[in-house]
Symmetry: D2
Subunit: 337 residues, 4 copies
């Protein structure tokens, strides 16, 4: 840690800081600068108590950590790209993946129709919500276990592994029984109890970025998964909350090169939540592919206008199949398959 | 709902919108404006499917809801101020309350020392974290049930009711057994399963605002509590996430008059989380009191510099007792006791 | 405009709203909904006074405009893509452009070396700051007219048209004398006097998005240019301000399809300002190209580490020439030259 | 500056950083930590080039400045509170001031009526816009010099000094001729040429915070005024842009204690722009007073509903006079007059 002292403080004020640093287990190292004195406090920041509380003392101007707070998700821990095995597929390898399906599972016919269409168009993994986190208690909350059963049936018929959201610690085992990937949604991205419960199932986890989560916090949420002995983690950007109101969220595609730099885990982009508007989805997908995403997660519905949730961001079956064609040249330009 | 059509669309495009509106159960009402045609779709927006999905059609420019989405928390549902009974106290009445105590319960001596000091200074409710949601898995996660027991003991000794955070659905009954108020933290403000579990205990709920939660979303999260038959709800502002980095969060005091206007529930302000800096806490408290808050929630520690969590935002026992003195004239100016 | 009345208001309260609407020149049209009465106020919102002030009346719940506020920049005004002629080049046509050069013009040798290198690598337009808007008055403020002369000289030697920032109304004529494109920076994006002065020179204008400008506001700032009889406008995204601190700004690539949808003007992406980190620039460029940008604006310096301004975001000559090679397949995949 | 090196780099990589630090005029000081090597670079950061560009080198992980970038506005430069003399008044002294008047000057009768009413109610300074920065070019742009003349006339009749916004460098002398305080608006808060022109008139400057300006940037914009030999500076908070849409802006009252801590200049709060809703203005004023603001800036109109600009945020004459009565007990509680 670096501790910066205020200018013009007394000798006593300085030495009380030095003693406290030593008391907390660090070795202080004093540097006298032009206007301020700076103390390097040497010691492992992950095992020692933080010195940031020194800020409550009047003679301290700022305290800056030096070490990165995440460890297992970091590039330093694992210099090669890691990949996640999902049944017959590997996400994070050379092959590019498209996960597609309805926002919510609504009925057998809606799901099967969508599953067949997206599979035919080129999707490799089927998405569908059975438990839905809804802003209002009066909105459709999902079919629950019945939805999971329909997903499992769709997997059987199309061969596509499935991904669905886990909402409750109490459902972790049940959802893990049916689903191949557990999705942790944006609203639960710092619901650490849920992250731990999900990690413990051993299933691959797709961790969405919270609406106002800094990248460091997102990586640390991922650290909860890896430190609970589950290495099968993917990060999924789905748009952050900003002042802009034209789109529902602002899709932050810069996370692709950033996560690739800081971490070894695969990166997935969700352009549906990311924009909240189906007319922007195709362009977003092209950008994501070009910037190096490992997979896309796209909401598709046979009739978006009558969808039971988030109709504005779901694309129709036709649009989806055109989309897959349109991104193909970019997948190739990115050197993927 | 109001549906605005794009200019220069065909008759067929218009009539297909009208049919769809009728199909979804609304009665359309056409108005021809200067450049655009606007359709009023009459019907209960809380029981009918939203028309927002119409946006996926090329001829539709915008769709605007008319009704408020929240109901039980709204002023319309309950025109008088509601109050919450917490043992011998009523929050939301004329009497102003101060909830104070350590960020985390660390030990019996730390807690007792703090409890006695804050009680003596004028606090009426004791706060203390037993389960702590920490950004990193390597940080102190709280004493768990042992912490709850210490809180109960402190209540016995000081007579102050206690408030502590609920982190996990699985702990709802256990925490409710010890605590007088269940706090739902910012990171779980849209963890709807946790809100439901908390509501079902029947205990008073203090619902913090999520870091990037719009006021409408916050009220709707509160609606999850009331619609699960628990009327004992308080809203607590603890700072929102903005671009500013000087403070940890930006405390949005404007929510006090806004929540008072939109809802009947009491409003509590947390200036400790709200700024992340103990040197700003007193000024924040004065503003909160003047603007009409019903209570404050303040982190106090006997030795902030050695606190096991969030030391930078905890005030010392001395500072706390000065703070209570300093806000007194503002409590009076606000017509409270 | 749509005016929504509160529930349970008196007949008098309603009729006073109706009279005021008529007084302000609109024709009111009443619709009785399930819980609320809604009034459609028919009239041209761009020539009549706004009704939003009705919100100050207790019986009014909300007021919503219907028309778009921008006109000349809109797709409705000009359904085909427009392009901007810059000497021998057309921006907005099939040919993709790269504008490159140093953040600040520092010296003749620095500029010439950069100009030759970027021209050789494939850039078609030379950028360079002569007047620099600096956060602190103690930072390098640019070479001023001397910098403009160096830019003109570099144009002569390389044949590349030049783009440079205009900071002051008083410099509009001087900068227009030397430069082929006038750049309006993010900090001045709503400095309307500067926009008008720039528009009046008749030169092409590159209008950067302000740090926290909504898309509608950006389009309206562009409207200041077109309504001052200058049709040569390009919009340039350079990152918005969010809560994220990993990057200096958050580059919002979604504006590419959005501006293309709402407006006919060309879209340029600045990945240097957009991320503030040279190691992210190449990936950002790929995304921008894939999503349909018309041009890139990239900061390049022979020795970024010793740059007089913004060294962290400038790429070296080598990196730039690799970057041009790396984006080439994406330019082709996007169907551009 | 503090330069943190990445772990596991070579001796050569380290020594090239050390040489570059020396080359740029700093004295390097090496500290070996647990995982990383940290270099303290000793030298005056305000006169030397920044080392932040070192980030473009692969072996450098982060670079952190130590010194504050502002100087003349800082508490270190001037430990006592400074005050600004405006004709017969002093802002920043014990006496609390209320600046009030219409958003725009619309006519002689509108201005005189307002001026008399606010003066009678207790306002001490008259505000009114003659040049208006409007988001759209089709909105009312102010009466210009005619408005200034009306303001001067109102000053003559009521004895209140006047404050009005300066929009253009070219108007600096003209506006300074009529007005007692020059207001720099949020959209021009980093229009440094305008700040310099305003400073040079020698008149008191009220500098509004830009919509997404960090506190450090605001102080540095103020530094442009003081470093151009004009010590008469006031900072005015008027709300920042966040994700919240209930209010037009989010009024950040925490700046009051923060600016008081970092700077010696007076702090003014504008609750009208700050919320954009007249029904929140009174509560905001109470908070501002309690937290230690030196003055308020409030928009008042005889008939807000027919105001030519920003009617939703202007209070009526009656509301204003009640507001002054309601804040009086808080002014007293804050120890002001």
């Amino acid at each position: 840690m670096i501790v910066v002292l205020k200018p013009n403080i007394s000798k006593e004020q300085e030495s009380s800081v030095l003693s406290e640093i030593e008391k907390l287990g660090y070795k202080p190292h004093v540097m006298r600068g032009v206007e301020r004195t700076v103390i390097g406090a040497i010691g492992d920041e992950r095992t020692h108590k933080t010195l940031e509380s020194l800020l409550t003392w009047k003679q301290v101007e700022s305290v800056m950590p030096i070490q990165k707070r995440y460890k297992l998700v970091s590039r330093e821990a694992h210099t090669k790209d890691s990949y996640v095995k999902v049944r017959q597929h590997f996400i994070g390898n050379k092959k590019f993946h498209v996960m597609a399906g309805p926002c919510s599972v609504e009925s057998e016919s809606q799901l099967m129709k969508t599953a067949e269409a997206v599979s035919k168009a080129g999707a490799t993994i089927l998405r569908g919500g059975a438990f839905k986190p809804r802003t209002s208690p009066y909105e459709f909350q999902g079919l629950g276990e019945k939805g999971l059963k329909l997903l499992a049936k769709a997997r059987e018929e199309t061969g596509m592994p499935i991904i669905t959201e886990l909402l409750s610690e109490n459902h972790a085992d049940m959802v893990a029984e049916y689903s191949d990937i557990l999705q942790i949604g944006a609203r639960n991205a710092q619901n650490f109890q849920l992250l731990i419960a999900a990690a413990k199932t051993g299933k691959p986890i797709l961790l969405k970025r919270g609406m106002s989560m800094r990248i460091e916090e997102w990586l640390l949420a991922g650290e909860y998964v890896l430190s609970n002995n589950n290495p099968n983690l993917m990060f999924c950007e789905r748009g952050i909350r900003t002042f802009e109101t034209y789109t529902r969220n602002t899709l932050d595609l810069s996370v692709i090169p950033i996560i690739k730099q800081e971490s070894h885990c695969p990166v997935v982009i969700d352009p549906s939540q990311g924009s909240g508007r189906s007319d922007l989805v195709t362009a977003m997908c092209k950008g994501a592919v070009a910037m190096g995403a490992d997979a896309l997660l796209i909401e598709v519905h046979p009739n978006p206008i009558e969808a039971w949730s988030d109709g504005t961001q779901q694309v129709s079956l036709d649009t989806f199949s055109r989309l897959v064609e349109e991104i193909r040249p970019f997948v190739e330009a990115a050197g993927r398959e």
